[in-house]
Structure formats: C-alpha cells, structure tokens
Amino acid sequence: MQGFQAKASPPSDDRRWKIVEGAMRRHGHESSSLIEVLHTVQETFGFLTDDALRYVAVALRVPYSKVYGVATFYHFFSLKPPGEHTCVVCTGTACYIKGAQSLLNAVDEIAGIKAGETTKDGKLSLLTARCLGACGLAPAIVYDGEVGGKATADSVKERVRTYMQSETVATGVGA
C-alpha cells in the first residue's frame, strides 16, 4: 500500500495536478473512478498525455493497459493536443439532413483540414459530434465551446477565416 502511494506522485510540479489529485481523493482512489478521473485530467490539461495515463494507472492501481484501453475506447477522450481554437460540427441525423457535410467542407476549404485533424500551425481543430441535442437549431456547430445554431457554409467560412487570420494579428487577445 505505502509503496504504491509513494510512487503515485504527479508527473511534474505543475499546480494543475492538484485538481486531479483532488478528484482522485474525492473518489477514495477507487479503481471504478477511472473514467471520472480521466475526465478531470482532460478538462484540466485539454487532453490526455501519456505521462498522465501512467500516473493515473499507478494512483488508482489499475494496469496501464487498461487505462490506455479505456482512454482510447471513448470518443470523448483525446490523446492529442487540441488546436488553439476548436470547431465541432454536429453530424447527428437532423444536422446531417440539414447540411452538416457542407459545413465540414467549408472548414476544409478555408483551413485545409478534415474531421479529426488540426491545422499545421495548431490554430484550429475540426471535430465532429454524434449529436449535441440541439436539433431545433440544426445544423449546429460549436466554436470554442459555444454552441451556434442554424449554421451555413458562409457563416462557418467567415468564422474560420477569423481564426486563421488571428495568427497574423498575433499575440493579442482575439475578439
């Protein structure tokens, strides 16, 4: 027991690990809290690093292979860093019927990325969701966590253009 706990120290002295430790403590380091803890890691760091997976494995006393297996089974978890901006296009049935594909094409046209990809400069990631539960607003799209409804190819292009151009405007705060 002691040995395990001694080994389970965070991969770095980044303060954000405190949040992860807190989540594990709240669940009494139960192995069943694995998915909850991975959620916390991703929420805190943006994605799941290999270091994080190893740390969680030791801390919850779950084999690394299982942690990896769980992290890759669920679509919500990402092992790659996201771009500075993210764009999630809903591809649920209602959105599909109302033209989700044309939104994906619009992003591709401006940024040159397909679903699941990030631009080379790390400006933008394009993701898809199976359904956001906002069919009333179909087709729906989420820009940096904010849901936008009744999207059109033109409105998407405009938004993506501002993201892509924000690099030349450089380090300042985006509008």
Binding site: V70, G92, A134
Partner: protein, 552 residues
C-alpha cells in the same frame, strides 16, 4: 424535514410569488442559452428595475418551452403571451407589452395559440417552462416531493409497485418494457450486498433531445422518481449516467442533488423516515453503446463500455453483481405524477397497450422543430402537419424516421396511423426514445440508410464479429450503391448480411443496425434499383459517376 416542513416551504414560495402581478419567463435551457437568453434575462431584469417595477413584475429563468428553433423564447401570463427570437434589445418592448399592454413588434410575437402549443398534453414536461430549474423551492411550490413523502409515509414498497404496474407505464428508453414488472423483479431479487437504481441519461440516439430537456428544465423530477423507485425496490444508492455532451444538464443535476440533500429529501433518513438514498452523477464519454444497459454498468464500474450477454439481466445481477434497476430519464419523470394521481389515472391516457404520453423530438424538414408531448395514439399526420406545421419551402413529405439507428422510415401511406409501440412495430419501425426526423423529397433514402449504417459501424464496440464486420460490410455495399458502382448481386448480398447481423449479434446495437436498411428497402426499393440500374439518385444527393463527373 417532514410533511409539514414541506408544506411550509411550498406555501412560503407561493406567497413569495403571489404579489407579482406580472411574470416574465425566460428560457434558460441549453438551446436558448446558446442564442444568449442569459443576456435577455439580464436586460429584462434591468428594465424592470429601471422602471421601479420590482414589486409587481418578476423575471424568472425557466426550462425549455419546446419550440427551441424560435429561441430565445420569453413568455408571460401563463404562456398567454409568447415572444420569439428575442434579443437583449427587445427588453423594453417586452416590458411595455406585458405591463402596459402596448403592442409588441411583430417580429418577436409568437402566437401562443399555435397548434404546436395547444395540441399537446403535458405530464413529463408539465414543469418545463414553468419553474426555475435551479431552485428546489420552485419545484416544491408546484407539489414537488409530495409524492415521495406520500410513498414513504403511507405506502408500502409493494403498494408503490402495484400503482406503477396498474398505470401500464412502459420504459421510454426504447424497448418499451413494462416498468412495474421490472421494478417487482428487482424488488424480489435477493440483495444481500445492496441494490442500485440507475438513471440512463446517455441519450445517444442522434436526433433525440427530450431527456436533455427534462434534465435541464426539471432535474428534481428525476431525483424524486429515482428516490421513489429506490424505496420500492429496496435500494439505497443511485447513479445518473449522463453523457458528457450535456454539461448544463450535469451541472443542474449536481446542484439539485446538493439542494435536495440539504433539505433532507435525499440522503440519510429521507423525510425523517428510516429510508436513506444517495445519488451520484457519472459522466459518459462519448460512446453510443454505453446506453445499452450492461455496457452502461461496465462504464460506471470504470471499464470499457462493452455489453455482455443477458441473462443474467441487471435486475438480477447488475452493478457490482447486485440487483440493479435501470430506467430511462423520461420513465423516471413519469413516476411522481403516477404516485400522486394513482395508476388508474395514468392508464386512462393513451391507447390500450401504450399508456400515458410520449415526448417526441421533432426535427428535420418540418416547420416547427422542437419538443412536443402528446398522448400515445395521436396520428403521425397530426404530429407532422398540425403540431409540426407541415413541410417548409413548399416541398413534399417523404418519410418520418423514428427510433434512430434502431428504427425505420415510415412512408406517406401510414401517416394516419396511431403512434404507439405496436403500430410503429407493425410498419417496421419502433418508438425508440422518441426522435422523429421528418424528411422531404430532398432526402435520398439509400443515403439515409447509409448514414445510419455509418453510425452503427463506427459505434460498434467490436466485441462480436457479426456486428463488427457485418456493419462495415453493409456500409461498403451501401456506399457502392450510392456511388453507382453496385450490381444486383450486391443488393442481394446486402439483404443476406442484414439478416445474419440481425440474428447473430450480441447486443441491441448489432441486432437492430440493419433496421434502417430493411425499412427503406421495404418502402423505397425503387430508389435502390434506380441507383443500381440507372446509376442515378432521384433526390440528387448521391454522387453518381454519370451525373456529377468527378466525385470528391
């Protein structure tokens, strides 16, 4: 906390609401929030203060009013007046209208007498758009937690189950299994290591959002239903498995649990009785198959969400190997009203074998997209043309898709059919969770079948071969048909594989994945043949070598 305390809270809240001559309700459910209804609410608040009307006009955030497509929505005077597409700039005009009866700008007036609103019967959604979902007192003021008190203090668990059985309620998660029967099975199962109650809030069907709406608009209703269920089956611990894509629902649930524990309607010695019940929220992580009950249990246990063969059913051996009751969000939402009004009352609504109401998410090519609740047995035509307002842009109705990836497409000839579990099944579709996607002549039915097959193929957990390989093979064949390179043999092959996948897959995902193919073949076979023989897509959706030249 006892019954007197509860009454007192209700009275106090009612008193607090009473002096207001005018009430303005602003929808703060996710869809309207995404079009900035929070700013509308702040602006209305400021406007009321500016005019010194705080004593007679109250602005309140409420849950979903149903017609999300016209959001943000604002209502007043028990929904006598409704406003649509509201922005913060409209605040003054709305207060003018509500308080001083001045006419409101035509652009924001929403006709509250529309059949969309008038044609509904609300049980599950009765508090949505009425109460503040973030305030337990508001729920108590409309009779919340009375049913739980009543069950705990004047009914035995067996009597509770008897009322649920009498009501004829069937599970709203898809299969329509009798709820009373499930409850009595769990109640009878020996639970020496405890029992669990789980609320399935995974809502994975694309095109379905009724569970989300209830969770965001009336979270205490779910907690009350779960607590009554726990008392009836003998459980002391519950989980709500909610998808991570619904952050607002998760937040409101967690807040609601805290409030309920503080008041003593959840936690130890609920309502001063010997019954204790704790609830925890668990987050899904984007896997459709986790809506399947055995996969969901695996996921709560911290594993990959893969289904296992049944029996044993969760009612016998579920979470941690103990008897577990799993019901859908909407199922739980029906419990408190049944206990309050009696099983016979509920059984008096709906059709012979499908009792009560059903909430549908109406989406696709229909004028009024949104959420509706209607008695079982209402016709499809009434839903699509009366409540839904028909097909926009002068287009022609083609089909309604119900039941998501496990369902089917219903063509025009069945529009007058009564919507209930049996009749939907008789035409090759299912009720499912209540998603209804309306399609017009701009949709290609082969493409729709391909869409659902793509969904099942990528959501297959891969545990069993027929589903893993079969869905991929069917998808390839459908892709061939849509891009104009398929032959008659490919179609025959598609039908053969569909049969195999249906009968040999381990769980419901695989077993039902061919349904969209079966149903489109049944009613729209000519469209398949058109793609194969003439290499053309009537709706102009599919990329055909002849038509479009280079396909992308």
């Amino acid at each position: 906390m006892n019954q007197e305390d509860l009454k007192e809270i209700a009275e106090k809240q009612k008193e607090a609401n009473a002096p207001f001559e005018h009430n303005i309700h602003v929808c703060v459910a996710a869809s309207c929030l995404s079009s900035h209804s929070d700013q509308v609410m702040t602006a209305l608040d400021q406007e009321v203060k500016k005019r010194g009307l705080e004593q007679c006009c109250k602005v309140k955030g409420v849950g979903c009013m149903g017609l999300c497509a016209a959001g943000p929505l604002v209502s007043s005077g028990n929904n006598e007046k409704m406003f649509q597409n509201v922005t913060a700039m409209d605040a003054a005009a709305i207060v003018d209208n509500v308080v001083d009866e001045k006419p409101a700008p035509a652009a924001i007036v929403l006709d509250s007498k529309l059949p969309f609103f008038r044609g509904q019967k609300k049980i599950v959604l009765e508090n949505c758009g009425e109460i503040d979902p973030e305030k337990i007192e508001d729920y108590i003021a409309v009779g919340g937690y009375e049913a739980l008190f009543h069950a705990l203090t004047s009914m035995t668990p067996a009597q509770v189950i008897e009322q649920i059985s009498k009501s004829g309620l069937r599970g709203r998660g898809g299969a329509g299994f009798p709820t009373g029967l499930k409850w009595s099975t769990v109640a009878k199962a020996p639970g020496t290591k405890g029992k669990y109650v789980i609320c399935n809030a995974d809502e994975g069907d694309p095109g379905a959002f009724m569970d989300r709406s209830v969770l965001e608009s009336d979270p205490h209703r779910i907690l009350e239903g779960m607590a009554i269920a726990a008392y009836a089956v003998g459980a002391n611990k519950g989980y709500i498995y909610c998808r991570a894509e619904y952050p607002l629902a998760v937040k409101r649930l967690k807040d609601a649990i805290k409030q309920a524990e503080k008041l003593g309607v959840l936690g130890n010695e609920v309502c001063d009785t010997r019954f204790s019940f704790r609830v925890e929220v668990r987050l899904g992580a984007g896997a459709f198959v986790c809506g399947e009950e055995t996969a969901l249990i695996a996921s709560i246990e911290g594993n990959r969400g893969t289904p296992r063969p049944r029996p044993p059913f969760p009612a016998q051996s579920g979470l941690w190997g103990t008897p577990t009751l799993i019901n859908n969000v909407e199922t739980f939402a029906n419990i408190a009203p049944i206990v309050r009004n009696g099983g016979d009352w509920f059984a008096g609504i709906g059709t012979e074998k499908s009792k009560g109401t059903k909430v549908f998410a109406l989406a696709g090519r229909v004028t009024n997209t949104g959420l509706i609740e209607v008695p079982m047995g209402v016709s499809l035509r009434e839903i699509v043309y009366k409540l839904g307002g028909g097909i926009p842009d002068g287009r022609k109705f083609k089909a309604v898709q119900t039941g998501g990836p496990s369902g089917g497409c219903i063509p025009e000839q069945y529009l007058d059919m009564a919507v209930d579990y049996e009749s939907l099944a008789s035409v090759g579709s299912i009720m499912g969770s209540g998603g209804m996607i309306v399609m017009d002549d701009s949709s290609c039915m082969v493409d729709v079948a391909k869409y659902f097959m793509d969904f099942c193929m990528s959501e297959s957990c891969g545990k069993c071969v027929p589903c893993r390989v079969g869905t991929a093979h069917m998808y390839d064949l459908l892709a061939k048909i849509t891009n104009g390179t398929a032959s008659q043999e490919d179609l025959a092959m598609l039908e053969r594989i569909a049969e195999v996948v249906k009968f040999t897959s381990l769980c419901g995902l695989g077993q039902t994945s061919p349904n969209p193919v079966f149903s489109t073949l049944r009613y729209f076979r000519d469209e398949y043949l058109n793609h194969i023989e003439r290499k053309s897509c009537g709706a102009g959706v599919c990329s055909q070598p002849k038509a479009a030249g280079v396909g992308a």
